[in-house]
């Protein structure tokens, strides 16, 4: 069914249209979320939140941008919120442990293995994801959308509501930061 018709039907509360929208875009939303969160369960939770928001606020979607761009925006924003919440919890647990209330043990994050990575690159990709996790938010978003979702700089600029030159700059800085981080990491773990 045509994207526009599906959206119009969803605006009228058509459940079949909503089901089709979820099934069509679930991999895109999940893949973006897993790239940012580096955790499959968290990514599922975020994907669920994204589609709940789509259902609740589709009437506000004016078709000025592409539906996929709107979906990417919601996904990125939800994933970042989730990440911030998680960091806050981690900080709180750390402070509690300082005061002796260490009921919750702080578990070191295991290496993340993206399910879609080619087997030969598994270890290297896990290391790269570790590096991506150290990047500032904007660089992380730009890099993830480009490398995991294959979006062009133009498309990323629409998702991030910024200029193409800003995206170019973000990607350049992200690559430089990753190169520095990887060099240091490899030197220390030789």
């Amino acid at each position: 069914m045509d994207e526009q018709i599906l959206i119009e039907k969803l605006k009228q509360g058509d459940e079949a249209a909503f089901k089709q929208i979820v099934e069509t875009w679930q991999n895109m939303v999940f893949n973006t979320a897993i790239g940012i969160l580096q955790n499959a369960e968290d990514a599922e939770d975020v994907a669920q939140e994204v589609f709940v928001q789509v259902y609740e606020s589709v009437k506000a979607f004016k078709s000025e941008s592409k539906f996929s761009t709107w979906l990417y925006r919601i996904t990125v924003s939800k994933a970042l919120d989730h990440l911030r919440r998680k960091k806050r919890k981690k900080r709180f647990a750390y402070i509690q442990s300082l005061f002796g209330n260490d009921n919750q043990t702080i578990i070191e994050k295991p290496d993340f293995h993206h399910p879609g990575v080619v087997l030969d690159n598994k270890e290297r990709a896990a290391l790269l994801f570790k590096g991506i996790g150290q990047l500032p938010e904007n660089q992380k978003i730009a890099f993830t959308l480009h490398k995991l979702e294959g979006l062009s700089y133009q498309e990323i600029s629409e998702v991030m509501k910024t200029s193409v030159s800003s995206v170019e700059s973000l990607m350049h800085r992200a690559k430089n930061n990753l190169r520095k981080w990887l060099t240091t990491y490899l030197q220390n773990n030789e």
Partner: protein, 111 residues
């Protein structure tokens, strides 16, 4: 020198390790989960509304506001009805010439 070159190669390989990556897919039944979440949201909205209404402070404030509005309406109605009944009495007195209760006001017709 060789080591540095090797390191650079390794960094480049790592940076390119996401080439050929396939999209990750969620577990099946995401739609069922989303639907359940939407239904729970609906229920939790009602639960929240009920919890808010049944708060002692909210309930007490509602009772006070109701009493206050009732009092205003009661006193407004009372003053209006008092005024209205006063006017009626005056009309009645005028109609039957009962208003002259002063002896000096009454005229005595000479014989």
């Amino acid at each position: 020198m060789k080591n540095k070159k090797h390191m650079e190669q390794e960094v480049d390989k790592t940076l390119n390790s996401l080439e050929g990556l396939q999209r990750a897919a969620p577990t099946p039944f995401l739609f069922t989960r989303v639907k359940a979440s939407l239904e729970n949201d609906e229920k939790s909205r009602w639960t929240l509304a009920l919890a808010f209404i049944s708060r002692p402070s909210v309930a007490f404030a509602t009772i006070l506001i109701t009493l206050f509005v009732n009092a205003i309406i009661f006193f407004e109605f009372r003053s209006e009805s008092a005024q209205a009944s006063g006017e009626g009495e005056q009309l009645f007195a005028n109609e039957y010439n009962l208003a002259n209760n002063n002896i000096y006001d009454s005229t005595i017709e000479p014989e």
